[in-house]
């Protein structure tokens, strides 16, 4: 008996270590490539282009400075920020009311609307850039921040609707009803009760919209020429730019994403849990 028990315990311990080892390996699988990019960015240009590479980067900011002063790069960064902000504002201000309507009302056509929103998932949305390029020329929105932001909003809107829907659904309707019986009209009840409660979640979905826009390459590359965003700028310079510039640009793209995912991490799962249905 005791030996059998010992073997079981031994197996358990082994399984435990395998579990931990797998976890560590998978964490490394995610983190090491990012570190390599950043380490390249923090090396000197000659280190980046040398072979074999030194193990520890020389930790200087020469590449970053080079990137920021490189023709068009700073502008691209600024354009990216503008487009992402515009996307964020449009996606939330258009999506949140729809999410609220879906969570609070039963009405004719509700399902049709849900289907429309879900349908966007089956479509390769960046392709929207093609017809929009033509439309925008007609209305004078070609190569503008707002034009690109509109296409990015189309990408972010379905998420904004579904996420805000789940946020509002998470707040018992009785809270709102209680506010009505205590002297609020609909708007007051929303402002005094619902808004304070959904604000963190709303911020998270706004950040999510920001990230979607920040990362989008295809539409940005198709729709902008003078006002390139950072990804579009990097894509365009893939062929001719020196390696260290690419890596510095890549790091500039990655860093905000790291921070943003950290900020919204609590909401990621709640968002996707509901988006499943």
């Amino acid at each position: 008996m005791s030996t059998a028990g010992g073997r079981v315990a031994g197996n358990d311990r082994l399984a435990h270590w395998v579990f931990i080892a797998t976890t560590v390996v998978l964490c490394g699988w995610v983190l090491v490539p990012i570190w390599l990019l950043i380490s390249n960015t923090l090396s000197t240009a000659s280190e980046v282009n040398s072979f074999p590479k030194p193990v520890v980067p020389s930790l200087n900011t020469e590449n970053i400075q080079f990137f920021l002063t490189f023709h068009g790069a700073g502008n691209a960064l600024w354009n990216s920020i503008q487009v992402a902000f515009a996307t964020m504002i449009m996606a939330i201000s258009v999506g949140a009311p729809a999410g609220y309507a879906l969570s609070r009302f039963d009405f004719r056509g509700k399902n049709a609307f849900r289907v429309l929103v879900l349908m966007t998932r089956a479509f390769p949305l960046p392709l929207l850039a093609l017809p929009m390029a033509i439309l925008f020329i007609r209305v004078g929105l070609d190569d503008t921040v707002i034009g690109l932001a509109i296409v990015h909003t189309t990408l972010a809107l379905p998420f904004a609707v579904l996420i805000t829907f789940s946020l509002f659904s998470g707040i018992p309707i009785e809270l709102e009803e209680a506010a009505w019986t205590l002297g609020c009209n609909r708007l007051q009840a929303f402002r005094k009760v619902i808004l304070p409660l959904v604000l963190p979640g709303l911020a998270a979905s706004a950040i999510f919209a920001f990230v979607i826009s920040w990362n989008e390459v295809f539409a940005a590359a198709v729709l902008t020429i003078e006002h390139r965003t950072l990804p579009a700028f990097l894509l365009q310079s893939l062929d001719d730019a020196p390696l260290h510039l690419k890596f510095a640009g890549g790091t500039m793209l990655v860093l905000p994403a790291l921070i943003f995912i950290f900020l919204v991490r609590k909401y990621l799962f709640a968002m996707w849990g509901i988006a499943n249905r």
């Binding site: 579990f19 976890t23 998978l26 995610v30 983190l31 490539p33 990012i34 390599l36 282009n49 074999p52 590479k53 201000s93 258009v94 009311p97 729809a98 309507a101 879906l102 609070r104 009302f105 509700k110 609307f113 429309l116 929103v117 998932r121 089956a122 479509f123 390769p124 960046p126 392709l127 929207l128 093609l130 017809p131 929009m132 390029a133 909003t153 189309t154 809107l157 609707v161 609909r186 990362n215 390459v217 295809f218 990804p231 894509l235 390696l243 690419k246 890596f247 640009g249 890549g250 793209l253 994403a257 790291l258 943003f260 995912i261 990621l268 799962f269 996707w272 849990g273 499943n276 249905r277």
Partner: protein, 283 residues
């Protein structure tokens, strides 16, 4: 405001937005692919697309990449999701780390793996350090199509497993623990519990994860551009080239229509294969 019309007012902006900037443009794409500028229906653009020398390779590469990447991602995401569901200490940290790629753009992912596979990249340095090579290898040169393919595969797996992971973790969170405990009481082992209880109950999440992932796989573009340049043509890259370099938006639209068609076909296929019978849902 009248509670009967209020929901429609709230919905109106999103509805208008989707009609004007989603439904209408897509109909334009379809129209451009099958009609001339004068509005005459034609198949000449589709034919020209299909007879172009890069068409077969772009289509094959895209489908092959999807076929190679998605199953690995699905298994990996399932493994990670089950591991997360068993963690107590450190769960939050591990989850954060594993979901980091979710926020990283495909272009950045391409650049990250370029830092590894480039001629002066870390892989060459590492191999040299281990004494396995004496000269740097050009992994991403035009004569090494296979290593380009593998590099793109790795970058895609690295980047886009997180989205499946998040959906599956959320899905597993929705399954009440009692089902697994009941199965355990009835004598089901770990593997049996996973295949007979968890997986079937996870069907709706698997469906979402697969649909989303497969469609994204058909849109693969920036990773390939960063790693392979023109050496590994893919459908989305062809759209870009025809639109920009060759300035023929009809052919670009034809490619777009093709991507749209296979996306919809696969969505329907996945939804059909992973259908949950009515009344068998958990919630």
């Amino acid at each position: 405001m009248n509670p009967r019309t209020l929901p429609y007012w709230l919905l109106a902006p999103a509805l208008v937005f989707l009609c004007v900037f989603f439904l209408y443009p897509f109909s334009l794409v379809a129209w451009q692919a099958i009609a001339t500028d004068e509005g005459v229906l034609t198949t000449q653009y589709l034919q020209r697309m299909a007879s172009h020398w890069k068409f077969d390779r772009a289509l094959t590469n895209t489908l092959l990449l999807t076929a190679a990447v998605v199953p690995i991602q699905l298994s990996l995401a399932l493994l990670m999701a089950t591991m997360v569901s068993k963690m107590n200490r450190g769960r939050d940290v591990v989850l954060y780390i594993w979901t980091i790629p979710l926020g990283i753009s495909d272009l950045a992912a391409g650049l990250i793996w370029l830092a590894i596979f480039d001629q002066t990249g870390f892989l060459n340095s590492a191999l040299f350090g281990l004494g396995m090579i004496e000269q740097p290898v050009t992994f991403l040169g035009y004569q090494n199509k296979t290593t380009i393919f593998v590099a793109v595969m790795l970058a895609e797996i690295w980047r886009a497993t997180a989205i499946m992971l998040v959906i599956l973790v959320a899905g597993i969170g929705l399954i009440p623990k009692e089902y697994n405990e009941a199965a355990e009481v009835f004598g089901a082992g770990r593997w049996k519990r996973f295949t007979k209880v968890t997986l079937p109950l996870l069907k709706p999440s698997l469906q979402t994860a697969l649909v989303l992932r497969v469609i994204l796989a058909f849109e693969v573009f920036a990773v390939v551009s960063a790693l392979g340049g023109t050496n590994l043509p893919v459908l989305m890259g062809e759209v870009y080239d025809w639109q920009f370099k060759l300035q023929d938006s009809h052919i670009a639209a034809s490619y777009a229509l093709l991507i749209l068609a296979i996306s919809i076909a696969f969505t329907l296929l996945i939804m059909g294969l992973l259908r949950t019978p009515k009344g068998a849902q958990t919630t």
